[in-house]
Amino acid sequence: FSTFAGDPKWAKQVLTYRILNYTPDLHPADVNAAIKKALSVWSSVTPLKFIKKDRGDADIMISFAAKGHNDFIPFDGPGGSVAHAYAPGKEFGGDAHFDEDETWTKSTEGTNLFYVAAHEFGHSLGLFHSKDPNALMYPIYRKFDPSVSPLHQDDINGIQYLYGQSSSTHNDQMESTEIKDPSESKDPALPNTCGPNLTFDAVTTFRGEIMFFKDKHFWRKYPAVKTADFNLITSFWPRLPPGVDATYEIPENDETVIFKGNEFWVVRGDTILPGYPQKIYTLGLSKDITKIDAAFYNANEGKTYYFIADKFWRYDKRSHTMDRNPMLVRDAFPGINGKIDAVFQYQNFFYFFCGRKQFEFDPDKKRVTRLLKTNFWFQC
């Protein structure tokens, strides 16, 4: 096997993919199935997991195109080059392109999409071509044999060189890309997603998802997807401390701010921006504030709210000013009393987490509209 120069690989174990368009050669459901199965070839032998997105950005963008298609490697008509993919990285890093001039099939005739996609996703994950004629990463397309696994030991050696071995048995991985509900897991320290006593340390939107932080883990939830994915914070941001106090997203900057103690970090995706951590007083808060309980960015106002005990300060992005004096939470948010564990804005509502309660607050009506369980966002 071989890898790309510098061994580029994804720094996180949960990757997203999105199918941007479909070939007319196959039913869309067959394309979805072939792509999912091709990804599970790699997740079955590594700790990697893949989640399908239907909109917005994703790590692996998948598309069908003929001849020139906005990258530097045009396709060449039927035969010859059938697909290509890019090494892990930003922008089109990880993306896979399939030549629409091929006849894509789910059989041994024509060009089998599952088989080619499994090879291309090897590139998307960081593998280069292999000289082993039996390896999936061998560059020449061979007649697809559905009776054998496309992965050979050479491929497994290569991908495990980059990502290590799978953390669970083969069939678990083959079945689902989402992690099972952590309440079923053996580690008693893991929080019970559906337990009545669930509380959170911090909650934020994140590139169209919602992230719920608890101790050293976080759940990633796509509003449209039933189950939530459960990760170690350090599996996503290795240099962050194992646990956060507060966090908020500024979508227009594609930035998420994460607080722990009297410091904060700014991340973009799984990358911590340079120059962090910084002290929270650099935001304009007084130096005697040692930690923030909760925070959110109100995109409609361009103001960021920092909650400490029963008070909050606001930073106005437009005038670049921080409130000189704090306001009482109960004055500005009637019905929300005492310390706030976490808060985030979703669509036009604010969601406040106070212990085992969650309050949905309508800023236009200035009142609590729903009292919810903290696990409301999970399928319990």
């Binding site: 120069a5 080059s81 059938v82």
Partner: protein
């Protein structure tokens, strides 16, 4: 050469040159004389034959011609 053979040879030359440009980082500089043993083209053919475990002749033999006509991944075989 008889016309037919000559055309085949030129077709093979174009195929192999395109192949080496796409997958082996070959850059055609002026006249690449394929029959000179130290020509850049010959070197690249040897590199490709070595990658695929073919007999390393540097020549456009039938095994090499067969291989460059097969469907494949569009990504290069050598780091660009």
């Amino acid at each position: 050469f008889p016309a037919g053979t000559r055309q085949n040879k030129e077709g093979g030359m174009q195929l192999i040159q395109k192949y080496l440009e796409n997958y082996y980082g070959f850059k055609k500089d002026g006249e690449s004389f394929i029959w000179k043993s130290d020509s850049p083209m010959t070197q690249k053919i040897k590199e490709m034959q070595e990658f695929f475990g073919l007999e390393v002749t540097g020549k456009l033999d039938s095994g090499t011609l067969d291989l460059i006509e097969k469907r494949r991944c569009g990504f290069p075989d050598v780091a660009g």
